[in-house]
Symmetry: C2
């Protein structure tokens, strides 16, 4: 539930906090969600309609005012914009890079305009002004009034179909525009080819191929209207075409065109006077073909039941969100359930109703017995998003994710697992081979709906693929040499962790040969550690560190990926004990962590880096390399310091308002961090089957686990004045360690904290009760 910003707090108090009699836990959870959170600032979420992990994300796009690089409009919608361009069917949730925005529809009343117009001159194009007070967004539903046309537009979605309900002014001519020229980030040459076709039965189909983040991406669609067409027009607005071919029939009459192909296509559809009944438009997408899009439409939305589709989407969300039942004040419930909502948007379904999809070879494949997902922002989501999925969603979901990764590897021209893929295609964005820990984490948790032998083979193949990002040199030297490969320090560190996760899974599978090799590789982080400065640094091939060295320096081509030495030097999740030892002991590591958080840092130092935001000292919560850092105090024997740092992060980096996210939500990783941390624990080392206990932020939360059991977290005495864990019991027995094992949670039970005003410097500090990654291995 959410309404415009102005009524914000009022609405929260009135609605979110009051449980309606008979309302299910899921319905109450859904009512607490505010899809506008993250749509301001640089959260890059979208407020539109989708189902959990749905293929269609139907959402309003606002008009870029000044910047042209697309970064700020990566999700299409910016809450501080004042005009809406239209409603498109594909969106990323929280990325720092732009693409999608496919099949943009805009209802028009009166005159048809084919260009967006000048944002500074309202009415100069088809873009319309809107007021946040007219907006309404909830999981699976979005509505807004377009002021310039007077159209009330409502959106809902099933997995592969977006449905629009447009109430037009009754007496003025009603039109719907479809614009295939637009995307989140437009530039000349982006649209490689596209097609619009009006079929004899009134179905509109088409496709476009784009040269965007994933070059060569194809998307097909089918669209039907609830009223008969009175007319239509197809236009190609591209000028300066060297050769167009012979004109098709009646090319001078756009209304007689049955089909148009080109690179700048726009179409309009006319319905006569707006009338009293709203016009319904349903649009399906397909990775495969126009006919397959029609099949998706027939399968999911055979009729014209907007409210039925909306109710089905609600029901899916209610069921998904019911995985956690939270007792907390309304504002906190909204923050929590919105985070949980955002953690269930990606990866997204990318498969037709008949099981066909498109893989990284840009060819069509058939999934048999599993569901194909794409949009794997793995550098982000291996950390907490996928672990959260293993905990709260049915194991089938994680198995499908793994099967999708394995299929992509089979279909990959490079023979490796995805790095950062969407709509089936590889983008090569970010670093690491982080599909590996996603698979290892699932396997270690007993999720087995995939071929483990093939998986291990795929993981090794990916870790051994020499041409990728300095792996050949890493295998040769034990580190990525900065004189041959950029961002070498980050790569060495992340490869070493990924390697550790291979060793874990190989050990569990009895593949000791592989385990031995990758356990050795897991120690390669040591090659990055510079004892003389206490930082992780980039070495040259000759073994020397690159000079000059500035631990504050970041940027493309630097030693680090979206970060600097202050942020990357703590990335040894597989061996925090070793990291402490390298620093000369836990005390020295604790001291360094304090230097991270307590530094006085001018944010201008990161002005050249879009992604490094959410600063607390050098800690940058707005980007992933920092996400585990506050938890390291607990490893180093001072859990109360983790508790204090987490409070600061929770207080400053998340707020239940549009600009409330400290940085890009990154396909749910920021939100998954919030969900875990609010519950009281976090998967610092996916693959270890351990969660580090931070501290609870919710008075009470019940995990309704996919195995049917329940795990309840209770925080007694919890309030602002009692932020520290005094003691804890698990199933009534004292728990004096700062970590939980996955199987302890999955067995069901109760974890009860007693909070207190001051740190308990003894709790959770016994050296014999440290987590896996603190033990010798």
């Amino acid at each position: 539930m959410a309404v415009g910003q102005a009524k914000w707090m009022v609405a929260l108090v009135l609605l979110a906090g009051t449980a309606v009699a008979g309302e299910s836990a899921g319905e109450r959870a859904l009512a607490a969600v505010d899809p506008f959170i993250g749509t301001g600032g640089e959260g890059h979420t979208y407020p539109g309609a989708t189902v959990p992990h749905g293929m269609v994300q139907l959402s309003p796009d606002t008009q870029i005012r000044s910047r042209r690089d697309g970064y700020g409009w990566a999700a299409g919608y910016r809450h501080d914009d004042t005009t809406i361009v239209g409603f498109s069917h594909t969106h990323f949730s929280g990325t720092g890079h732009s693409d999608l925005g496919d099949v943009l529809l805009m209802p028009l009343s009166g005159e048809v305009k084919y260009e967006r117009g000048d944002v500074a001159r309202p009415g100069s194009g088809y873009t319309s002004r809107f007021d946040h007070r007219s907006e309404r967004a909830e999981p699976g539903y979005y509505a807004v009034t377009l002021d310039d046309s007077g159209v009330r537009a409502e959106l809902t979605a099933s997995a592969r179909v977006g449905m629009h309900r447009y109430a037009f002014p009754a007496d003025r001519p009603a039109h719907v525009l479809v614009d295939l020229r637009t995307s989140m980030y437009d530039y000349p040459g982006k649209i490689l080819w596209s097609r619009l076709r009006l079929r004899a039965d009134g179905t509109v189909t088409g496709y476009r191929q784009t040269r965007g983040w994933a070059p060569g991406r194809q998307l097909y669609f089918a669209m039907r209207f609830s009223r008969p067409l009175r007319g239509h027009a197809f236009h190609d607005t591209e000028s300066d075409v060297v050769y167009r071919g012979f004109p098709p029939p009646a090319d001078k009459d756009p209304g007689a065109r049955a089909q148009i192909e080109g690179r700048q296509l726009v179409g309009s559809f006319d319905f006569g006077p707006g009338g009293r009944e709203p016009l319904l438009v349903k649009v399906s997408i397909s990775p495969v073909s126009e006919d397959s899009a029609i099949a998706n439409l027939d399968a999911e939305a055979p009729g014209w039941d907007f409210d039925g589709i909306r109710a089905a989407a609600r029901a899916q969300w209610a069921q998904a969100l019911a995985a956690v039942e939270v007792d907390a004040p309304p504002v906190q419930r909204t923050a929590f359930y919105t985070a949980l909502y955002h953690s269930m948007l990606g990866p997204t379904l990318f498969m037709d109703s008949d099981g066909r999809y498109r893989g990284p070879d840009n060819a069509v494949h058939q999934a048999q017995g599993w569901t194909h997902y794409s949009t794997f922002s793995l550098w982000d989501t291996y950390r907490a998003l996928h672990p959260l999925m293993t905990l709260l969603q049915p194991p089938q979901r994680s198995s499908d994710m793994v099967n999708s990764l394995l299929a992509a590897r089979r279909e990959s021209p490079y023979g490796i697992l995805p790095v950062w893929s969407f709509h089936g295609l590889e983008t090569w964005c970010m670093i690491g081979y982080h599909a590996v820990p996603v698979i290892a984490d699932a396997y270690m948790k007993g999720i087995r709906g995939f071929d483990a032998d093939e998986a291990l083979q795929a993981m090794v193949a990916s870790a051994d693929y020499g041409p990728y990002d300095g792996i050949a040199q890493y295998r040769e030297l034990g580190w990525v040499p900065i004189d041959e490969e950029g961002e070498a320090a980050s790569k060495t560190l992340e490869y070493a962790y990924d390697d550790w996760s291979i060793a874990r899974m190989a050990t569990a599978m009895g593949r000791d040969d592989i385990a031995a090799e990758f356990t050795k590789r897991a120690g390669n982080w040591k090659h990055a550690f510079d004892p003389s400065t206490g930082f992780m640094r980039a070495r040259r091939r000759d073994g020397s560190f690159r000079e000059p060295f500035d631990p504050a320096a970041s940027g493309y081509g630097s030693d680090y990926t979206e970060g600097n030495a202050w942020q990357y030097s703590w990335y040894v999740p597989q061996d925090v004990a070793g990291l402490a030892a390298a620093h000369g002991g836990a005390d020295r590591l604790l001291q360094r962590l304090d230097e991270v958080f307590d530094a006085k840092v001018d944010p201008a130092v990161f002005e050249h880096m879009e992604d490094i935001t959410g600063l607390i000292g050098w800690y940058a919560h707005g980007n992933e390399p920092s996400h585990h850092v506050a938890y390291l105090y607990a490893y180093a024997g001072q859990p109360w310091r983790t508790q204090a740092r987490l409070k600061r992060i929770m207080d400053t980096q998340y707020a239940p308002r549009p600009d409330g996210l400290a940085g890009n939500d990154d396909l749910g990783q920021m939100s998954a961090w919030y969900v875990f941390t609010a519950l009281g624990f976090y998967p610092v080392t996916p693959g270890s089957n351990e969660y580090i206990i931070g501290r609870p932020f919710l008075p009470r939360a019940r995990l309704n686990l996919p195995n049917g059991k329940h795990f309840t977290l209770i925080a007694e005495n919890l309030d602002e004045a009692h932020p520290y864990i005094g003691s804890a019991t698990l199933d009534g027995k004292p728990l004096d360690r700062a970590f939980l094992r996955h199987d302890e949670i999955m067995a069901g039970g109760e974890l009860r904290f007693t909070m207190q005003a001051t740190p308990n410097r003894d709790w959770g500090t016994r050296p014999d009760a440290r987590p896996y990654s603190q033990s010798t291995h």
Copy 2:
């Protein structure tokens, strides 16, 4: 058989004229074919390797020297060029417009060059000089020595696979270049997207989508080498790309690229020293996908038997060419069998080995129980090419053509039959709805391997499709109004003939309603006739003829399509009697025909029109509107005048040398005209089941009919001094009419002419023995 131009006549005498003992009729026919005929001048044929109606046409492409519009290089190869760019896998035979040239391969020795280079500076690029004396071409086989690299290159083909055999200099490094940037007519923006991929097993696959004659055309390929790869490099030579996306692995090392996508791709493959054994390369194409191309490769060329594939291609050609056994001097045999060969190149197979193909909606479809063909140059080929197919090829071939046309109509966004399509896509080239007479002609001849009801429906739908080329107005007014639609006179005339063919088929099917309507429409030619000038002219909507009128005027936007009033005014094949009556009687029509042939015309009057060539007076044999005109004398009661005119045409418009064709071969229409005319009869009115007898040009010819029967044509006394028919017998009985019925031929038998020195002004002139279109209907 053919060798370089220099040894031309010698070779003909030595080889073509001598029947080797034991050689089959087909083998002897094949030996007479010279694929170089038409590769000079503006014949636009190619000399490369293909099987009858094959999907792959593997042929050398020469480098354009000056003109950039592609017209002269429509088939890729011009005999007067001196450099070869490479060998590409798709070619049109005889078109006046350019496209194809897909998957160009070039063997290189020594250094790899990635650009064609400057034609004026040999060695500046990968293009190589060659000498016609090193060339050899025969049906299914082509060979040449590339002087710059010293590579001996041989080409052969199966239906979907081109096989190359490259003998490299032994000691120099051997490479093969694949260039996806090139086509017959290159301009910026033509390549929409393309891909090159090296698979782990050494198979190379890829695709490209082009914006050419058929915008949005996709073609996939797969390629394998007989030797292991030593290395490769993939390059994208496009500059000025706004956004390329993130680079794939090892993007700085072209040799480590497993895949590349872009708009200007070129790749090279290295094989170490040339060695003593030649390198074999096999390349398949597919309309569907790279995987489907691999399947085609596996299905047709699982091994490395170049000679076996060559022998299989020979065998197919020998069988096809054995349809006619000709006794004639060597030069005439070469002209005849080359024409027969050229008449069996198009339309071309366009379907994968599993029956999938791409239709006019650019989507993938499945043929079940029939074979899909494309490249329908219907404005040309409905006249004689398709009628020749019904006579000499198995009825299954014509049925497949009809089924392909009907499928295209089902898949058409416009719901109509193809106009001018290739690779499944509509180009909207030329005028008329001439798929209609192709179908009607097949049906009337008893070919029934298609759904006649659907066919008639498709024919009517195409004839009634208002938005196409003034059909709406034609249906309203009875003529295409020139003030609303260009080339209106030509369109009115050709529509009226097409309409007549619908009426014929509807009558035969008992659909009297349709027959009545289209019989009426068949008379619409009368609206174009201007009694005051005796020309066919374009009317305005108000019924007046467009002024000023110049019967010599031609050009785009004129009243006529690739012609003028002198050429178009005789186009009433469905009612020559009516045409004569309109002129005031047969004598007046004869007089007008003489004016056509005997006019003194400065060819410069057609300098602005590429296609109007081969002038005899106003008669332009190089383009199709004239093709029936010489036969009209026979209709008008003076067969001996037809005989005289045909001799002039045969003597001047065809010669067995590269520049021997008077104009574009137009997918075999020019050649089919030759085959019919040489035999002695011609299908002036496809759909009538009648052939007008011209005169025989061959001493003896035996048609080995697809029904197993034989029809023998004998011309006694035939020589240069005896060019006129004195008398004729059919199966021993006197034949005193200047036409044959299709069933008379198909029944088998013997047609014996006795030729004489002077015209027999009586033979074939009886008014009661005039053909169908001369009788009242």
